[in-house]
């Protein structure tokens, strides 16, 4: 494996996996999408400007793959929601509450329009800046700011509805 790709994998693989996990809700599928992201990156390394940060470029590939996955798999499996709680060392009661919260969160996210979901996930699972999100999604900075605001508000509204 080329050194540059090795660095990308070390820095971004888990973040891309988490992003894909939020789209698919399935560990296997998320792993495949993460792997496919790096395979595509490897095939297109010559197109990557090495003076730039690899994050937006990799997340652009990952987001496109997730979009395609969503297009082909409308039914989102909910079986692997435990994934998010496996590392929590809490009491059984807390885990049950967290699982319930996690389910509500996943359902709310699923209802969120894709244009908001993409921005929110890049912000909160990949920890990207506005400029990086704009770069990854090919959007204007002002649009990213607006979508992030609207998306967060809508997510909150959906969660409140879920918990009622």
């Amino acid at each position: 494996m080329q050194e540059i790709l090795q660095e990308m994998v070390e820095e971004y693989s888990d973040k891309i996996y988490r992003l894909a996990l939020r789209y698919t809700g399935d560990r296997e599928q998320a792993r495949d999408l993460a792997q496919e992201t790096f395979l595509r990156a490897y095939k297109n390394l010559d197109k990557f400007d090495r003076s730039k940060n690899a994050g937006p470029w990799l997340f652009k590939i990952a987001t496109n793959l997730c979009r395609n996955w969503l297009r082909d798999n409308r039914e989102v499996p909910m079986e692997s929601l435990d994934e998010f709680n496996t590392r929590a060392e809490n009491s059984p009661e807390t885990i049950v509450i967290r699982k319930e919260d996690e389910r509500e969160l996943a359902e709310a996210l699923d209802r969120l329009p894709l244009m908001y979901r993409e921005v929110i996930l890049l912000k909160h699972t990949a920890d990207m800046s506005y400029a990086e999100i704009a770069d990854a999604l090919g959007l204007e900075l002002s649009l990213v700011r607006n979508r992030l605001y609207r998306g967060r508000m809508l997510l909150r509204e959906l969660l409140e509805r879920e918990s009622e």
Partner: protein, 159 residues
Amino acid sequence: MKNCPDIITIQAVLDGEEKDERIIKHIQTCPTCCSARVELEESISLAECLNSPAVLPDVFCKQLTERIQPKPFPAILVSAAIFLLSIISAYLLNPGYLQWWLSVGIINQFSYIMDVFISFLYFSHYIGPLGLITGLVSLVVVEVLILNKLRTVEGYNNV
């Protein structure tokens, strides 16, 4: 009130994207902005729940490396196929031309085959499968053309 930043700017402050000290200070002190800030903070902390501690299994890197590594080029098969092709084409053009091959003896035949095979392996490292196949096919074409020419010169058709 008039100097209050819009909600998108307040959000940018909370996300650490807006660095203007004047705006930051205003948001911290202005009662109107305060309620908007609190509401936004709640929305952001809810969205923060989307982040998870999920990590990829350790085998991920190994699996990726296996998929990235190029498949070994079947040099033995290709060399055998090209060699066979050249012999058959020579035979079809004129069975008599194989006489020299049969006359060189088993040791020379073996060393010739080994030379060709090692050359194929050597070149496959440098020019890649596509280059190697293109080169070898060109050699066969040249061979066919030469044999055709020889046949015409020797008047094989008239025999």
